[in-house]
């Protein structure tokens, strides 16, 4: 199939609602709707938005050696990854990490969800189901494990924003039961009606879903995995029950600016064909308490241990909303004007602004009186030398040069980790 020609079951709906469509990962996807990407971004920070994320792929890894295979290929230590106490991954829990090659380069990032001790759902990016499936199969050897690519066999809706809990409760058959004890990075149910786990989460009409307390916006919410043939009806129902609460459909442009403001990487752009070290996501690696050595062996480990000189990736935030293009020839300059690296992502988080130098969000409880954010340029740079938060650099493309600050975090007061009971 030619690039951009793959479709999700919602394509006609997107077209019918005036979406500006673009290619992402080989799929024809909505970039924004007539409301505009700015309003979509603000809706997710202040109320709620829904995203069609059916272009994402997933892989079932099953069998007695499924856990062994993931321990071998994935950057998270499944025996020490859940919560502050570093508990082992258990049924109903999920984690974020990456798959690397022997050179320590990122093939893709992924959420791994343990459905049962011998069954895992590996969620990867659009178009990556085949490649990561092959990578896993190729390292299974004679082990007793089956790898099955589920690309295009399910749909997914991300419901994100502080009101997402109130909205999802309206489409669940037993909201009190399903939403009880569903902390961040946990899930219930399964989207396959034949799965023995399907009964744990059903919609009003009995449709089984895998309901996960994850998303990629930095805000409170859910990923709803569902059979492809039920996707359109569930999408429409969500919008009709959510509309009174300000729920709107959102495209990939808002998703991009939301995730960048939440300091989350875009695979193949902020992480990719270079060693997966010295970046703002150390939690995706199996670091021991010393923050330097690893607690397990995995593909790419040796390369990462020897990756001195691989460069450093940092988040940055600008002083107004003007951005530059992360195009060929764009670069990062230090205070002496020396070129020290490149721009990975550069977008505008429209929900934030500066007041006396400090960044506030439109959703910050302590925002200054009368504060109305105009948006700030933000993203990631990869540079040759170590920088520290607070340090300024210049990013430039062919048309402009902008002073930006290396930061530890971008959009403050995000809601992703808030307790579910406080959000209903």
């Amino acid at each position: 199939m030619e690039a951009g020609s793959r479709r999700t079951p919602l394509r006609e709906w997107h077209f019918g609602h005036g979406a500006n469509m673009g290619n992402f990962g080989g799929y024809e996807m909505p970039l924004w709707y007539p409301t505009g990407a700015k309003e979509e971004h603000l809706a997710v920070v202040q109320r709620a938005g829904v995203f069609d994320t059916s272009h994402m792929a997933a892989i079932h890894v099953s069998g007695p050696d499924a856990r062994w295979l993931l321990q071998h290929c994935y950057t998270k230590d499944l025996e020490a990854c859940v919560g502050k106490s570093r508990a082992p991954l258990a049924p109903g829990k999920s984690v974020y990490g990456a798959f690397l090659n022997e050179k320590g380069e990122v093939l893709d990032d992924s959420i791994v969800a343990e459905i049962a001790p011998d069954l895992y759902l590996v969620v990867v990016n659009a178009g990556m189901g085949g490649a990561i499936g092959c990578h896993l199969s190729g390292h299974a050897g004679s082990r007793d494990v089956a790898v099955r690519d589920l690309t295009d066999q399910f749909g997914k809706i991300d419901l994100q924003g502080p009101l997402a809990g109130k909205i999802v409760a309206r489409i669940l058959a037993e909201p009190a039961k399903v939403l009880d004890s569903l902390p961040y990075f946990s899930f219930k149910g399964h989207f396959d009606p034949a799965s023995p786990f399907a009964a744990a989460a059903r919609l009003w009409d009995g449709t089984p879903v895998l309901l996960s307390r994850t998303g990629y916006t930095g805000e409170f919410g859910f990923e709803v995995f569902i059979q492809a043939e039920r996707l359109v009806q569930v999408w429409k129902t969500l919008l009709s029950v959510g509309e009174p609460l300000g729920l709107i459909p959102c495209g990939l442009a808002a998703r991009d600016s939301l995730r960048a403001g939440a300091v989350l990487p875009l695979s193949h752009q902020d992480i990719g064909a270079w060693p997966f070290v010295n970046h703002p996501w150390p939690f995706a690696l199996p670091y021991a308490g010393d923050g330097a050595s690893f607690t397990k062996d995995f593909i790419g480990r040796t390369a990462l241990e020897q990756a001195a000189g691989a460069g450093y990736t940092y988040p940055f935030a600008g002083y107004d909303l003007r951005k530059v293009s992360a195009e060929e020839g764009a670069g990062v300059l230090d205070e002496q004007g020396r070129e020290i690296g490149k721009i990975l992502s550069c977008v505008t988080d429209m929900a934030i602004g500066r007041y006396e130098g400090r960044i506030y969000s439109i959703a910050s409880p302590n925002k200054p009186e009368g504060f109305e954010p105009r948006g700030l340029c933000c993203g990631f740079i990869k540079v040759r030398e170590k920088l520290i938060p607070g340090q300024n650099v210049e990013i430039r493309d062919s048309r402009r040069k902008i002073r930006v600050e290396v930061v530890a975090d971008i959009r403050p007061d995000r809601t992703a980790r808030r307790a579910l009971k406080d959000m209903l």
Partner: protein, 136 residues
């Protein structure tokens, strides 16, 4: 995205291949971007314009339109001296989307050669160009 039949393309304006429009206003020529351009760019969040008094050649960049997704350059449809810039856009950049031909005019210039204006596309030629680009 709008279909070509849904686009507003007023008769009487002149158009460029980069989707600027130009309109004669007495001695001056007013310049903006077309409905097609604003629809492609998405919501405009920032507009950068030149200084009054700058003299620029036809085809030179005179400013940028910044949407949430991208930054796009805008080009002089004809050469001339900048007489005025639309200062309303500094605080209301979204007017480029809602009123690209009226409230969101970008600059007014004094043409160095009024004949350059007549060499630009008329409404019919601009629509034909859009149709042709779509077919390709």
């Amino acid at each position: 995205m709008k279909e070509i039949s849904d686009l507003t393309v007023p008769v009487g304006l002149r158009y460029t291949k980069d989707h600027e429009w130009a309109e004669r206003k007495g001695e001056k020529v007013r310049v903006g971007v077309t409905d097609y351009a604003q629809d492609q760019l998405g919501e405009i969040v920032f507009v950068e314009l030149p200084n009054v008094g700058d003299s620029l050649e036809k085809g030179q960049v005179f400013g940028t339109l910044e949407s949430v997704k991208a930054v796009s350059e805008i080009y002089m449809p004809i050469g001339g001296e900048i007489m005025a810039v639309n200062s309303v856009l500094a605080t209301s950049p979204e007017l480029v989307n809602s009123s690209p031909y009226e409230k969101a005019w970008l600059i007014e210039l004094r043409p160095q050669d009024p004949a350059e204006l007549d060499a630009l596309m008329d409404q019919k030629a601009y629509l034909e160009m859009l149709e042709k680009a779509k077919a390709e």
